[in-house]
């Protein structure tokens, strides 16, 4: 599939320090790519260069087939940008904010229709004519995202859009972002929240100290550290059950400890139904199931020697 965003060898130095040092990745249409890293890792600097807001020292950025740099104008139409800050005009209503940016992007012909669509997507139709300053933080964040996607860009860039948001609003924002990929947009999502990257992103680039240290989908990244999943079954009447489960292809080990059968397996989720059938055939009754998978936090720790929130 043709990449909507292709960046290669991005370098940005501030004085002698390289804030971004050779970053490169691609995002296809409909794909959500997460740039996961702690504060100061180089995420915002990277996307500033991708947007053409920051002059890069080295590297190339191609969006929708067009090179992007700080002098690009018309090429920026392919990019939607949601900054980390709540970048709204508080004295204007949500509708006025959207209409202003719609005009700026030349959407005059179908402005009202598109504004209504976006208000619907971000769930603000009922409050569309209230001033943005009267919104809760979560509603402002959703409007912030709405402005970025207003002109239906090929590439939507979201820079940590859930920072400082309460859990309920955060869920609403993540749902909105999850819907973007299905609209066919390529989404670049930066975050230092591991669970957001896991939930939203098709592929993830782990960035630290200005470099992408690993890239892939969640399973591939976890595979890098060689850790397997742990499945714990609470069972009764399990004589001989452990041996049968251990014989399943993909299961590394199965061990009965009291009424708990502890199974170590790679990609346990895909094996779970087979495991349950074997256990049932062995005459055991399953009372509970728990699957523990290694997460990206563990991957990050393994790759960088530090926690994501350091």
């Amino acid at each position: 599939m043709e990449a909507v965003l292709r960046c290669e060898g991005l370098v940005k130095r501030f004085d002698d320090r390289a804030a971004v040092d050779g970053v490169g990745f691609e995002i296809a249409a409909g794909e959500t790519y997460g740039l996961l890293g702690p504060n100061g890792a180089g995420k915002t600097t990277t996307i500033s260069m991708v947007c053409g807001l920051l002059k890069r020292d080295e590297g190339t950025v191609i969006v929708a087939g067009e090179p992007i740099d700080t002098s690009s104008v018309e090429e920026r139409r392919a990019i939607g940008y949601v900054p980390q800050e709540i970048a709204l005009y508080p004295d204007l209503t949500a509708r006025e904010n959207l209409r202003f940016f719609a005009r700026l992007y030349g959407l005059s012909d179908r402005m009202d229709e598109r504004v209504d669509e976006v208000l619907d997507v971000v769930g603000l139709t009922d409050r569309a004519d209230d001033k943005a300053e009267e919104y809760s933080g979560g509603m402002q964040r959703r409007l912030n995202i709405g402005i970025g996607m207003l002109h239906e860009p090929d590439l939507l860039i979201l820079d940590e859009p859930t920072v400082g948001v309460d859990p309920q609003s955060r869920n609403a924002i993540l749902d909105s972002v999850a819907a973007l990929g299905s609209l066919g947009m390529a989404v670049l999502y930066t975050t230092h929240y591991m669970e957001e990257a896991e939930r939203l992103c098709d592929r993830i680039g782990i960035i630290d100290e200005g470099r992408i240290v690993a890239e892939g989908d969640r399973r591939e990244l976890i595979g890098l550290i060689g850790e397997a999943d742990t499945v714990t079954l609470q069972i009764t009447g399990a004589d001989g059950c452990a041996e049968r489960v251990a014989a399943i292809e993909g299961v590394e080990s199965a061990q009965l400890e009291g009424e708990e059968l502890i199974i170590i397996a790679h990609n346990a989720g895909s094996l779970l139904s087979e495991i349950l059938v074997v256990v049932r055939d062995a005459g055991a009754t399953v009372k509970g199931v728990n699957v523990d998978e290694p997460d990206l936090e563990a991957v990050f720790l393994h790759l960088t020697g530090k926690a994501l929130r350091d």
Binding site: L54, R76, I79, I86, A87, L88, E96
Partner: protein, 374 residues
């Protein structure tokens, strides 16, 4: 152009909704001028308690002038000679003397002399206005000279052209009356706050991320800059228009010809924009930018004589006051309000606008500090 208009319209709507334009641009300057005209009338206005001595060698003007002054609440006395009138001033019994000479049958008409101490500048300013009105009504007397309180110097200037630089040259023609002085002063003072608030809005937009959004839009950066400039200019000029009309109708201020007011207002706006933009490049955030701009505008207004009419005697202080655009603007509006020439209006206009452009260019050189775009 469409983008610039769109941005300017958005900025204006914001300024109207947050009421900063109404407060800084219209209500504050008008009411401060109005209140000062009431409270500080004795300093600025005709209503103060000055006493004037009048000598009249024509025999036809003095009595009527004295009656008029008394009717207006001043003290006025017609004395028998110029020496007697000067003596009253020297003795502190009169604020200023208006010396009206006899018409000369040949040659240039002799000058009316206003004799007073510039330390009592307001009384002299008022006397100048009175003398000017007489001069304007008399074919025989056209030249006006303002004197210091040094009696020995009086004779040297009688019948001569005023020396260059002496009390704004032929100052009597270019001095604002009290109410107009207050109106012009307050309008200029608050104009700087109004215009700079618009420019500082760029810093605010940088801080809250909307500037990045604007820069991400498929429009030229020049259009964004032009839009911001346009909104700043419009707020400044709109503020001036409202204040000129309001102070003229309500307070009776005499601003002079519209073309002069327009030119000087435009120059003030350019200057305020350049200054505001430069200040913005040194501020870390909008709050700091507002503080810096407020301090600079207030200091310049003080130096320029917005709050207290300043001595215009040549010297170091006079030179120092000319670092303030407010001083140039007061001079320009004075010339426009009085009978100054076109050049007397154009020079301050060009100086103030020129400094504004220079400051704007310096700010442009530091634009990455203002926009955050490296």
């Amino acid at each position: 152009m469409t983008t610039a208009l769109l941005l300017a319209r958005k900025d204006l709507v914001q300024r109207l909704r947050d009421r900063s334009f109404l407060i800084l641009g219209i209500i504050a300057p008008f009411f401060v001028a109005y209140i000062l005209s009431l409270v500080a009338g004795p300093v600025y206005d005709y209503g103060f308690s000055a006493d004037y001595a009048i000598s009249d060698e024509t025999g036809s003007v003095g009595e009527g002038l004295a009656e008029g002054l008394v009717d207006s609440g001043f003290g006025a006395e017609v004395v028998g000679s110029e020496d007697a009138a000067r003596a009253l001033v020297d003795d502190g019994e009169a604020s200023a003397a208006i010396l009206i000479p006899a018409p000369s049958p040949v040659g240039d008409p002799p000058p009316i002399v206003v004799y007073g101490d510039l330390d009592d500048g307001t009384a002299v300013v008022v006397a100048e206005s009175i003398a000017e009105s007489i001069a304007n009504q008399s074919d025989a007397v056209r030249v006006l000279i303002t004197e210091t309180g040094n009696p020995a110097s009086v004779g040297a200037y009688l019948g001569q052209e005023p020396p260059v630089g002496w009390v704004q040259g032929d100052a009597g023609d270019k001095v604002l009356d009290g109410i107009t002085y207050l109106s012009v002063g307050m309008a200029i003072f608050f104009l700087y706050f109004t215009v700079q608030a618009s420019i500082i809005n760029i810093v605010e937009e940088r801080m809250n991320g909307t500037l990045q959004r604007l820069l991400m839009a498929p429009v030229g950066r020049g259009s964004i800059l032009f839009g911001k400039t346009l909104s700043s200019s419009l707020t400044g000029l709109l503020s001036m228009v409202v204040l000129v009309v309001a102070t003229t109708l309500v307070l009776g201020a005499a601003w002079g010809p519209v073309w002069g007011v327009a030119l000087l207002s435009l120059a003030a706006v350019v200057n305020a924009m350049g200054l505001g933009a430069l200040i913005g490049t040194y501020a870390r955030n909008a709050e700091q930018a507002s503080q810096f701009a407020g301090i600079v505008a207030t200091v310049l207004a003080f130096i320029g004589g917005v709050f207290v009419p300043i001595s215009t005697e040549p010297g170091l202080f006079d030179t120092l006051t000319r670092i303030s655009p407010h001083r140039w603007l007061l001079d320009g509006f004075g010339a426009n309000s009085g009978t100054g020439t076109v050049v007397d209006v154009l020079i301050p206009t060009l100086v103030v606008a020129g400094i504004g452009v220079l400051l704007g260019l310096l700010a442009f050189g530091r634009r990455s500090k203002l926009t955050g775009v490296v």
